[in-house]
């Protein structure tokens, strides 16, 4: 075999192997999501979504669990979005290019890699005990906000950086202050990027279990009337019903998993669609 022929043969084999690896990776992602839908679809009905659980959590629906998760995500957004967006604005618009700013950026990247159970410990020590919030939606949401914060900051900073400097200069030239330029010109233009990034971050928060394990959730709790009450939540419900429940309840486990994965999937698809539409619409 000539060298050229050998190189061509190697090329074909290498491409085939790499392609097979890609198929396995992508295939396993599709398989996992498909499997959850396949196992859960039969259990999800209107009643399942709108009824409280009955008969020692083996029958009925998961309405209070869904409401609990929504409350947690709502309060997480209340804490993480204002702080995260302001931090993103600082990094993109105000921060000087120096070592201190690099350190702040490094801290944000590092925050994203802190294990979720460590956030859980931190939440117990600071929010549950020190701030005396007890096991509550607020304590859980504050903990989840710490988990989500780096995502929101990064999304905001990236969205702001994509706005061309001409726009800033034009606004400043018209006599607007820097702050007014940000609130009236930059933020509206960067809005979609910030919102989509934040939604992705919040959808991840909705699926986190370890941070709320000791800060917010209970095996059974009625729908919280105040954010200072403890709550049920989808990921914890899945965990506890799958591992600790004395009675087998596949409807609860797989139905809940279906609802959680479907909600996260829908949010991700909407965000992806919105992003590609936005990309086509705005050309700077």
């Amino acid at each position: 075999m000539s060298r050229v022929a050998r190189a061509r043969a190697t090329e074909r084999i290498a491409k085939w192997i790499l392609g097979a690896c890609a198929v396995v990776s992508i295939g396993s992602a599709l398989f996992l999501i498909g499997y959850v839908f396949y196992k859960g679809a039969g259990y999800v009905s209107w009643e399942f979504l709108t009824q409280p659980p009955r008969n020692a959590m083996t029958e009925g629906g998961i309405y209070p669990v869904i409401v609990g998760s929504l409350q947690l995500v709502f309060w997480t957004a209340m804490f993480a979005l204002p702080l995260g967006i302001m931090a993103g604005i600082y990094l993109a618009e105000y921060a000087p290019r120096n070592r201190a700013t690099r350190t702040a950026r490094l801290a944000i990247a590092n925050m994203a890699g802190v294990p979720s159970i460590v956030y859980g410990l931190f939440g117990v020590a600071l929010f549950v005990i020190q701030m005396n919030l007890g096991r509550s939606i607020i304590a859980g949401a504050l903990t989840l906000a710490c988990v989500t914060l780096p995502v929101v900051i990064t999304a905001t900073e990236e969205a702001l950086r994509q706005i061309p400097t001409d726009l800033r200069h034009a606004s400043l030239a018209l006599g607007a202050t820097r702050l007014r330029t940000i609130t009236r010109v930059i933020l509206p233009a960067a809005g979609p990027g910030i919102i989509t990034g934040s939604i992705l971050g919040l959808s991840r928060a909705a699926g986190e279990t370890a941070p709320i394990l000791f800060t917010a959730v209970a095996f059974f709790a009625p729908i919280a009337s105040s954010p200072f009450d403890e709550t049920m939540a989808l990921p914890y419900h899945i965990y506890i019903m799958a591992t600790q429940s004395t009675k087998d309840a596949p409807n609860m486990v797989w139905g809940s998993a279906f609802v959680l994965v479907a909600a996260v999937s829908i949010l991700n698809v909407i965000v992806a669609a919105w992003r590609s539409k936005q990309r086509r619409k705005i050309r700077w």
Partner: protein
């Protein structure tokens, strides 16, 4: 501003207010910008404060190198080794599966796939990262536990290996997307130069592109490692939570995050057991912090190299 004409006087109000508000808001924004550092410091501080009693009474070295974890016996022992070795096995299995698969996938997506395939694959991989870990644990219970027991003829299917497979799936999206970014950042000139010298695409890939992106791929592996070590729910549900030191990945094991998550709910607040779990959290935090720091520093350096 002297002698403002009467018809403009009204308008002076808003800009003046805006100017007065500016420093206040700017200060708030600046504080927010530093929040990440503050939170990281607070995490370290609170973990240390929680661990203080265990460090005082047992000693950090005794815990990190202790072989026995009997936190509730009459003479309690707080050795982290069972959890550390368990974490090691789970991580080794997870990385052995996810690193080759993830890097190969990234190379294919970046160097061989058409644009259309590239876009679709990248969004599916991103989507994969959104699957909650508790759901992966559940799928592991349903699909893997029985099979692992049968395949390897074990007493139980709840082993470090079982957990490692699912943790590999968790680490995969991180490894693929960061590696892909690194490969994508290699300037086109290098590929063209290599092709012009008569190299095939594969020769270009392994002789030029992958070496050029190697630091980014290293960072991807480190970030995947960080995710694998810190993963909680999958190991809690699949690893078996045995108390002894696992001698192979095919034995039931506990990991650092799994032990914390499994026991924190049952301990007396402020007790020695409680404090030792905070010490475990501190060890976990320090280890993942160093891993992530290494990855960040390498990524930052690579970013600077390709910036023209």
């Amino acid at each position: 501003m002297t002698d403002t004409p009467p018809h403009m006087r009204q308008r002076v109000g808003r800009p003046a207010f805006s100017r007065a508000a500016e420093p206040v808001v700017k200060a708030l924004i600046k504080i927010a910008g530093w929040s990440a550092i503050a939170i990281l410091a607070a995490i370290a501080g609170y973990l240390f404060a929680g661990a203080l009693r265990a460090i005082d009474e047992v000693g950090m070295r005794a815990m990190v190198t202790g072989e026995f974890w009997y936190p509730t016996s009459a003479t309690p022992q707080f050795g982290f080794l069972p959890s550390e070795i368990g974490s090691l096995w789970v991580t080794v299995v997870a990385l052995l599966l996810s690193v080759p698969l993830g890097v190969a996938t990234a190379v294919y997506i970046s160097e061989f796939a058409s644009n259309r395939v590239k876009d679709v694959s990248k969004s599916i991989i991103e989507f994969m990262a959104a699957i909650p870990s508790v759901v992966l644990g559940l799928i592991g219970i349903a699909l893997l536990v029985q099979n692992v027991r049968a395949w390897f003829d074990l007493d139980t299917g709840l082993t470090a290996f079982t957990a490692g497979i699912m943790v590999a799936i968790l680490a995969l999206p991180t490894i693929v997307s960061i590696s892909e970014d690194a490969l994508h950042a290699v300037p086109m000139d290098l590929r063209h130069g290599s092709s012009a010298l008569g190299n095939t695409r594969w020769q270009t890939t392994y002789k030029v592109v992958v070496p050029a992106a190697s630091s980014g791929i290293f960072a991807a592996v480190m970030l995947g490692l960080g995710r694998a070590i810190g993963e909680t729910m999958v190991v809690l549900m699949l690893a078996g939570n045995a108390g002894t030191i696992p001698l192979s990945p095919f034995e039931p094991a506990r990991t650092l995050p799994g032990t914390i998550a499994g026991e924190l709910g049952e301990v007396v607040r402020g007790g020695l057991h409680y404090s030792s779990l905070f010490a475990m959290g501190l060890v976990l935090f320090v280890v993942t912090f160093l891993i992530n720091l290494a990855a960040d520093v390498v990524l930052e350096r690579q970013r600077k190299r390709w910036r023209r």
